[in-house]
């Protein structure tokens, strides 16, 4: 039921940009090039968002900037009989492993070190591959963005653990545990890297793959 004019770009496997059109990233509606606002959902249209990479890098640096103190400052401050013990992320992990709590140790290590560091590297790699046209394999790209989009937010689990631990222990027992400034920095770092990933115009990554397939 599609006339020649609209079926042609589909048959040739074109993107909206290659067909001289603009697709809405929020709802998928297709517009003529030069349209400012989506007629379906009202979102602003960009054939490719030129500001996207700048936003990605801005949030990326903000995230990295607070991730450093998140590792150096205490996540938890424990008081036992007047004695204060500060524990950082790494210090906490070492303590768990030493006590034989491998499950907690590994969850905290994954959520607070492996996932955030992996996310910084993945976002930087994707952004650079778009900026400088680095070669990037289709499968690898897919895995990378999956990591960034779906796994990145799981880092927040550590902030919830700190909050719950402190809330429970503060119910008035001999020891008291309060969250440290490290927890604030860590929460901010996760939020900034999530904003960095959300600013990414993923279509730009697929454009690069298309160019390589054709050459």
């Amino acid at each position: 039921m599609v006339d020649m004019e609209t079926s042609e770009p589909i048959r040739r496997g074109l993107t909206a940009r290659q067909a001289g059109l603009v697709g809405c990233v929020r709802c998928g509606t297709v517009h003529r090039r030069g349209t400012k606002e989506c007629r379906t959902c009202g979102a602003r249209l960009h054939s490719r968002d030129r500001m996207s990479l700048q936003h990605v890098w801005a949030w990326w640096f903000a995230g990295l900037f607070v991730y450093i103190p998140a590792n150096l400052l205490p996540m938890l401050r424990t008081e036992i009989l007047g004695r204060t013990v500060d524990s950082t992320i790494i210090g906490g992990v070492i303590e768990f492993i030493a006590h034989g709590d491998y499950f907690v140790g590994i969850v905290v290590l994954l959520a607070s070190v492996a996932i955030p560091v992996g996310k910084f590297i993945a976002v930087a790699y994707l952004a650079l591959s778009v900026q400088f046209g680095l070669k990037i394999r289709k499968h690898r790209r897919h895995v990378l963005f999956e990591v960034v989009e779906f796994i990145g937010r799981w880092s927040m689990v550590d902030v919830f653990v700190v909050a719950l631990t402190a809330a429970l222990v503060q119910l008035g027992f001999v020891i008291s545990i309060v969250p440290g400034l490290g927890a604030v920095c860590f929460a901010l770092s996760v939020a900034f890297t999530m904003l960095s990933a959300q600013s990414f115009d993923t279509r730009a990554i697929w454009d690069r793959i298309e160019e390589q397939d054709q050459t």
Binding site: M1, D3, E5, T6, P9, I10, G13, L14, T15, R17, A19, L21, V22, G23, C24, R26, G28, T29, V30, R32, T40, C41, G42, A43, D101, F103, V104, V107, V108, R153, W154, M156, V157, V159, F160, V161, A163, L164, T165, A166, A167, L168, V169, Q170, L171, G172, F173, I175, P179, L181, A183, V184, A187, L188, A191, M194, Q198, T202, W206, D207
Partner: protein
């Protein structure tokens, strides 16, 4: 090409590849040929189900905030804390920032997303014109998706429990069970909404 011609096309939001819009049977999903992003996924009685699940989410959240979440007992003393009590731990200086984060991700945003869905869909279900600003509300709810962290909070609870197990005996309050049900209901609610179909409906009823 006119707008009507262009309405026969859909561009993948993730990779920009053009597809022809074809009727999709309820329960089936149309995915992008290149990157496999779900483009169209209509459901049977989708609006009734989505509204019902959004209302359930709201009720469960009110319950989860009102009742004790966890209780801890040590040498005969038993005390319990609610989710709000946990947020209140971050009570001074920069800590308030972290407290606000936890409150948003665990309580406020899942609730806002459920209410936004009711606000968007209920007038359509009743055959009325969309509520004022319905498009913006629906867009915002989509954007908020990764920021509502109900399932991550439950995993955090498990880790905190294992961590404190040696210290005292910890038991679950009613709010914990309500929150677990909420995690499942939210997942079904999010899966019940087909963005493409909802946008079409929003535009049809705005024009009618």
């Amino acid at each position: 090409m006119t707008d009507t011609d262009l309405d026969r096309l859909i561009a993948c939001p993730t990779c920009d590849l053009l597809h022809e819009v074809a009727p999709v049977e309820p329960g089936y999903k149309a995915r992008c040929r290149r990157c496999h992003t779900v483009l169209i996924a209509p459901r049977r009685q989708s609006m009734d189900v989505a509204i019902a699940l959004a209302v359930t989410t709201t009720v469960l959240m009110i319950g989860a905030v009102s009742f004790p979440f966890l209780s801890m007992s040590q040498s005969g003393l038993q005390k319990s804390t609610s989710i709000l009590g946990m947020v209140a731990i971050f009570d001074h200086g920069l800590m308030i920032v972290a407290g606000a984060f936890v409150a948003m991700m665990v309580i406020a945003l899942p609730l806002v997303r459920a209410l936004a869905l009711i606000y968007t869909l209920l007038p359509l279900r009743l055959g009325r014109k969309p509520a004022p600003g319905a498009k913006r509300v629906f867009l915002f709810a989509q954007w908020l998706l990764p920021w509502a962290m109900t399932e991550i909070f439950i995993v955090g609870t498990m880790v905190a429990l294992v961590k404190l197990m040696g210290l005292a005996s910890v038991s679950f309050g009613p709010a914990f069970w309500l929150y677990c049900i909420l995690v499942v209901v939210v997942a079904f609610k999010d899966a019940s909404v087909c963005k493409w179909s909802t946008w079409k409906l929003l535009n049809q009823s705005a024009a009618a």
